[in-house]
């Protein structure tokens, strides 16, 4: 148990004991190797199970809506941005959430590790990190990698691993280890293709989409009570999982969450059929930054991107 973990447990317990929050949302050990699982509890004894490690993958802000009244939430930098974004969108009152900020060490991407060592995650014995080096013990061998090789792409482009918005920050702000360009390399690669090939690429990717909607369900920015795909009069897109409708669904989703998406990468991690969704959301983040200088979830007092305007902006494409 590390320092942050023990501090977190104490603070979380106190919050519940003092009745400041109705529930704590954090991470507990998962049932599989190298996983954690969301812990959502009002029971103070449960706080002893809270953990902080390089596998705290979920964006926990997605659970805030489930809890009535004030809630204490363990937040990485990206989670906190999602919380801020929810506040901007009037989905949440600042006083209803107690942010237990943690300087995020970066989350290890198990798909990357699997690829690097050529083994599935459950065949790996251990993954340990020492600053910028990561050691993967597999098949009686220790393989060493640089942290940038195994961190999630969204972590590589992270500019503030520790939340800027918090009630309590557990530990010091982290040094940014990221490599923004590396994290966007797939986007650059796609951009270098002719349009028809780009379309072909996404057509192929969405051919295997099974419409499980995990991307939407894990996304804190997807908070609509009824998603457009569920409307039947009119029926905007067919419920059948054709690539065309899968692609329309996802493209619309990405546009709808523009200015709310904090590039937490959870949609991509959740996708059971490996569609590189972050290459869509990440591009959208670039677009809103380039056009409007906007970064989602960085200023809780700012109006949401799509409700604001500057009289003279983005006029060049209009006749």
């Amino acid at each position: 148990m590390n320092d942050i973990e023990s501090k977190l447990r104490t603070e979380a317990r106190n919050l519940l004991e003092q009745g400041k929050v109705n529930a704590i949302i954090g991470f507990a050990p998962g049932s599989l190797k190298f996983t954690t699982t969301p812990l959502i509890t009002g029971d103070k004894e449960d706080t002893d199970r809270l953990v902080i490690n390089p596998f705290i993958a979920n964006n926990l802000s997605v659970f805030i809506h489930d809890i009535e009244g004030p809630v204490g939430i363990v937040a990485k930098g990206c989670d906190a941005r999602s919380i801020v974004s929810l506040i901007q969108d009037n989905q949440l009152a600042r006083e209803d959430v107690f942010i237990l900020g943690i300087p995020c060490p970066g989350v290890i991407d198990l798909r990357k590790v699997e690829k690097l060592v050529g083994r599935d995650r459950d065949e790996i014995d251990d993954i340990t990190r020492d600053n910028d080096r990561v050691t993967v013990a597999v098949g009686g061998e220790n393989k060493e990698f640089s942290i940038t090789e195994v961190l999630r792409d969204d972590c590589l482009s992270c500019e503030s691993p520790a939340p800027k918005e918090y009630d309590l920050l557990l530990g010091e702000d982290n040094v940014v280890v990221g490599d923004r360009e590396l994290s966007r390399s797939h986007i650059r690669e796609l951009e270098s293709l002719p349009p028809a090939e780009r379309w072909e690429f996404w057509k192929n990717e969405f051919s295997r989409c099974i419409r499980c909607y995990a991307c939407r369900q894990v996304c804190p920015a997807c908070f609509c009570e009824r998603c457009f795909v569920e409307e039947s009069e009119p029926q905007w897109i067919s419920p059948l999982p054709r690539w065309q409708d899968n692609l329309v669904f996802q493209a619309t989703r990405v546009i709808h969450v523009a200015g709310r998406c904090v590039d937490c990468g959870e949609c991509e991690r959740a996708c059971p059929v490996n569609i590189p969704l972050r290459s869509l959301t990440g591009k959208m983040d670039e677009i809103v930054e380039e056009l409007f200088g906007y970064k989602a979830g960085t200023d809780k007092d700012a109006p949401p991107l799509m409700t604001a305007y500057v009289p003279e902006e983005a006029e060049d494409f209009i006749r």
Binding site: D120, E123, P272
Partner: protein, 353 residues
Amino acid sequence: MYRRKRKILSGDNMKKIKKKDIGKLLSKWQADFTVFTPSRATGVARMEEWDGKDTDFLTWYRNTVIPPKNNILPNMEAMFRFQKDEAGYQLEPVTPEQKQIIFGIRPCDARALTIIDMVFKDTYEDRYYLTRRQNTVLVGLGCTNPYESCFCTSLGIHPAQSADVDLMLTDIGNELLIEEITDKGKELLGKSSGLTDASSNDEDSAKQSRETAYQKVTRKLDTTGIADKLQASFEDKDFWGKVAAKCVTCGICTFLCPTCYCFDINDEISKGSGARFRNWDSCSFSLYTKMPAENPREEKWQRVRQKVCHKYEFYPRLFDTIACTGCGRCIRFCPVNWDITQTLESVPEHSAV
């Protein structure tokens, strides 16, 4: 508990084949069947039409992400086409006629088909499912390396033995031992080439291989009295609320579940002609049971409860078997690590109803 009663043919007519000759065997079968094998060509592991050369799956394949139910109950299939002319609507049913082999199906997924057969045969026969089922030969391949999420042995399934397939293959090193399980399998074997007789040594190493696989399934679930326990806990909102708290109600666990068979029916039309389709649906979605004025499963704990109880309480009452084969996909692919074995182990003891 439900057990498949089928005679497994004894050892004296067992065959084997060299792994390097599998390609030839599949090519031979391709003359009469569409052959499906594990494939990652589309970017996700699933049973795909064999490309005529790649047998790499023999090294990487542990199990598919998309379960082979997709090849019998596809995630989307046309049921009939319709067209309107002067005489009115004309309907033309679509019948799945393709004869297919699913090569490499795991015992858990094969059992899953046996389990969902019961629904599709019950009261009204489902032509689409049953025709595909009839037209399919299952060639099982025993596991040698189960996942950490696997718990098939807790549900009476052997990771490397199966009576739910037509032919069963066991990895014995450089070769695969072949057992005939059904007449359909026997017939297919008759159309095969490159096989040699297996020796008693081969059978011993197959036995060894199976035993090792069995021992490797370490996740255990005690299912004793589970249906009664669930029934007694049905109204325990506290329990279900806790269990469901971290569920995000996506459709991964149900869509990737080899025994989840629920579907939706939808029409498509353009310029007067169209088709009726069915596609996978999931009890995780609130829309699944939504009626105009009410929804009996509006809350996510109700939907999680439905999923668990359907598999471990209702299905056993209806068909005398648990509708879960311990394939572990719902655990492995869950974005929040919701673990059905943990849920089932934590069902509280209530006094019986």
